[in-house]
Amino acid sequence: MTAAAPIETDVAIIGAGPIGLFAVFELGLLDLKCHLVDILDRPGGQCTELYPEKPIYDIPGLPIVTGQELTNRLLEQVKPFDPQFHFGEMATALEKLADGRWKLTTDAGTTLIAPVVVIAAGAGSFVPKRPPVPGIETFENAGDGVGVHYAVRKMETFRGKNILIAGGGDSALDWTINLAPLAKSLTLVHHRDGFRAAQHSVNQMRELEAAGKVKFHVASVKALHGEPGKLSGVTLAGPDKSEWHHETDVFLPFFGLTIKLGPIAEFGINLHENLIPVDTARFESQTPGIFAIGDINTYTGKLKLILSGFHEAALMAQAAFHIARPNEKLRFQYTTSSSNLQKKLGVS
């Protein structure tokens, strides 16, 4: 992969959840420009990934708001500051440059150079759930169209293969339907004869099953077989504990995402039980210039609430300003009375 030219900005934010988004607002009022990196393909973090439709009742001033609505409103609020998003990218490395700034790189080859880094990563990165089958990792990254994959990037790589899919959600059913026409064989396994997935997808899968194009078993994968990197088959177990061998080239488990701290643990920042200790005046980690706000930080009295993260973002921005603009005086102003701020917000 050819690395793109480094991007220089004022603040690099890891995480585009509600707190990362509100940080854009607070930093924007102080004329600091932001780039945000998020492993998900859209903004909102846990709010949109875990509970987009569930109501939240403890956002000040919003008696009831869903995770998706809150995200939409925050996006609207930060729009005047033109934040730049790098979605679908995992922040993988952070290093200090000779000039005192930070270099943050992602797994997609993006490089951000900024005097301030804000970690608003919640509990970490959303990554696919890995079934607890012994040795499964030895079949991952085995190459296109073979072994274990948690996502389908190019359908063509699965043409002519014996495919095994596990799961009962939308991804499991959608890929069953989409891959069946080009697979040599396609088998779907799930722990029950019922699916969480959309009903029309279930109907389509049942039609494919009736036409003999898909095999469905109430079963789960107990063991994987083959040489490391070359999957040859699996052991399936039914609800009555009976076990049988099933030959396959590919195993695609689709059990959604879970959160792992991930590469942040390797950034050299002091951690306490996977959280970043910060002071409560600046919300800075023990590494100057690296701030942590929202669920990822810890301090005496910490509450993992969205509203706490908003407060932390406001105080962080004040401290970050002095690092990003060491020779400027910070003018504290209110959005209600400052024509200067209102101009930035595009309302006057």
């Binding site: 875990l50 509970y51 969480r196 059990f255 959160i259």
Partner: protein, 102 residues
């Protein structure tokens, strides 16, 4: 009221349940390694436990949304539950659960 919980290392813990609290909350506050990412909204399947020793049948049945959400859990067994959906009461005194693998 007691909750007997077996962690992923096989160690047994006896925890004090609280009336009206979810088993997930008791496990989490008791220091067991349980992600409970969504905080109890039946939206993530990361508080998955197995309910042991006949206790599964004694509990109120799983809701549709819990059954659906278990589709996103790993290593589901017939006695699988999301612990955020089991509410402590006198009736659950002595319940035994095992934290499911990650």
């Amino acid at each position: 009221m007691k909750i007997i919980a077996i962690d992923r290392q096989g160690k047994e813990h006896t925890l004090e349940g609280r009336d009206g609290w979810s088993v997930m909350e008791i496990l989490r506050d008791g220091g067991l390694d349980i992600a409970a990412e969504c905080g109890g909204a039946c939206a993530c399947a990361t508080c998955h436990v197995y309910v042991n020793d006949g206790w599964f049948e004694k509990l109120p049945p799983r809701s549709e949304s819990e059954i659906d959400m278990l589709d996103m859990a790993l290593a589901v067994e017939p006695n699988s539950r999301l612990s955020c959906q089991i509410i402590c009461s006198e009736e659950t005194d002595g319940i035994k659960v095992t934290v499911a693998p990650e």
